[in-house]
Amino acid sequence: MAKRTIEPLLWTLFSAGGVVAALFIPIQLLLFGIVFPLGWAETPSHERMLGLLGHPLTRIYLFVLCSMALLHAAHRFRFTLYDGLQIKHLNELINLFCYGGALVLSIWTLVLLWHMP
C-alpha cells in the first residue's frame, strides 16, 4: 500500500485558498493599491479603519483570507519552482521556504489581528 501523505490535504487547502483569493483579493487590491492612492475615491480615515478592524467579523474574515491565500500561494509557488525551473532535487528546501513562509506570515496575521485595539 502506498504511504499515506499530507498531499491530499494540501491540495484541498490549495483549492479553498484559490477560491477565497479569487473572490476577495482583486477588489481589495484595486481599492487600496490603485483607487485610494490615486485619489479616485476618498480614502477611509484612520478612525473608520480602526472601527472596521475592531469588529470581530472583520478580523475573522481577514484571518481566513490571509492564511488561506498564503497556503494557496505557497502550494502553487512550490510547483512553479518545480516545473518552471526544474529544481525538484531541492524538494525539502523549497517546501520549507514555501510552507514555512506561509506559516510565519499566518502567525503574524493572527498576532496582528488579536492585538488590535
Binding site: A22, L30, F36, E42, C66, A73, W108, T109, L112
Partner: protein
C-alpha cells in the same frame, strides 16, 4: 513479490527527454500557464501589503498616513498594478476551471459547465460590490 521496488519520488529512473529550463517560453499556452502559476507570488505580496496596512492602523494615525503615502509612491502603484493583473488572471482562470474541478448533478442531470462558471463570476461580482460598498460608504 519478495522485494518492494524502490520508489524514488521526483527522480524516475526511466528515460526522459531533456527539457530546457526555459520550456515555458516555447509556446504561448505554456507561457500563460507559468504566468498563471506565478500569480501565487503576487497573492503573497498582496497579503504582505495588507498586513503592513493593518499594522499601520494599529500603530496610530501618523503610521497610517505614512503607509498611505508609501502606497501612493510610483513604485508601489506600478507594483500593485502588476499585482492586480496577476490577481485578475488568477481569478478568471480559476473560475473558468471551476466546472472541470466541480461536476454538479441536479435531478439526475449534469449541470452545464457554463452555469458553474457563471455562478462563480456572479459570486465574484457580489463579493466585490459588498466590499466596495463597505469601504467607500
Amino acid at each position: 513479490m519478495s522485494e518492494t521496488p524502490i520508489y524514488t519520488e521526483y527522480h524516475p529512473r526511466w528515460y526522459r527527454r531533456r527539457v530546457s529550463t526555459y520550456w515555458w517560453l516555447e509556446r504561448t499556452s505554456y507561457l500563460l500557464f507559468i504566468l498563471r502559476e506565478l500569480s501565487s507570488a503576487f497573492i503573497a505580496w498582496f497579503v504582505v501589503f495588507t498586513l503592513l496596512g493593518i499594522r499601520a492602523v494599529k500603530l496610530g494615525p501618523a503610521a497610517y498616513q505614512a503607509y498611505l503615502a508609501w502606497a501612493a509612491s510610483p513604485f508601489l502603484i506600478i507594483l500593485n498594478l502588476i499585482t492586480l493583473f496577476f490577481v485578475v488572471l488568477h481569478a478568471t482562470t480559476w473560475f473558468n476551471l471551476a466546472p472541470k474541478a466541480m461536476v454538479l448533478h441536479w435531478r439526475g442531470r449534469k449541470v452545464p459547465g457554463e452555469w458553474i462558471s457563471y455562478a462563480n463570476y456572479g459570486a465574484w461580482a457580489v463579493a466585490s460590490i459588498v466590499i466596495a460598498l463597505i469601504l467607500l460608504l
